[in-house]
Amino acid sequence: DTAVSQTPKYLVTQMGNDKSIKCEQNLGHDTMYWYKQDSKKFLKIMFSYNNKELIINETVPNRFSPKSPDKAHLNLHINSLELGDSAVYFCASSQFPGTGGRDTQYFGPGTRLTVL
């Protein structure tokens, strides 16, 4: 069984388009995250949701909007795509942090976004 899944795995689109990436976790976790990995393999957190509420919102263009319909899902919608948005986007989840957020984060397989 896949613990954290993302769709699609690959996404190729034109500049200016709007696209969404979906994420689902079946681990029963309360917290979900979105990370961006650039061409140099650098991983940086973008957003975090706990029980459908936004708790981390890094300096990300407001063209990026996360949406959490329930605690098992965290989708990422991107408006007006730009060339610089090309990257691999990873979803992750962790248990409710009784330890102040210091819980293992489990990652999905990633979505490779290419903007032409």
């Binding site: 954290v4 995250y33 140099k40 393999k41 975090s48 102040g100 293992t104 397989p109």
Partner: protein, 114 residues
């Protein structure tokens, strides 16, 4: 090591040898550290973690060492196997104010040679 251009620092290890991957962290307030392994085309996979009240933790074939004095973390892999070839990331998390916010290092590419 530091990344130069598009190239990650690379550690070449002969199969069967032990590997040591190093990581320097900058935030002295960090109190939780994780090592992840990322194979080509996949997401980061949890290997082992350590909290700041410890200086050593062992898993299956892996050991993490934490030296808070010099802000240094290392991952030791015993008897390295071809399946260990991947990019390895250290990640740190700070105080309560940075709740859930993992900061990743640049990554080290491990290449296991026969």
């Amino acid at each position: 090591g530091e990344s130069v251009g598009l190239h990650l620092p690379t550690l070449s290890v002969q199969e069967g040898d032990n590997s040591i991957i190093n990581c320097a962290y900058s935030n002295s307030a960090s109190d939780y550290f994780i090592w992840y392994k990322q194979e080509s085309g996949k997401g980061p996979q949890f290997i082992i973690d350590i909290r700041s009240n410890m200086d050593k933790r062992q898993g299956q074939r892996v050991t993490v060492l934490l030296n808070k004095t010099v802000k240094h973390l290392s991952l030791q892999i015993a008897a390295t196997q071809p399946g260990d070839s991947a990019v390895y990331f250290c990640a740190e998390m700070g105080t309560t104010d940075s709740w859930g916010k993992l900061q990743f290092g640049a990554g080290t590419q491990v290449v296991v040679t026969p």
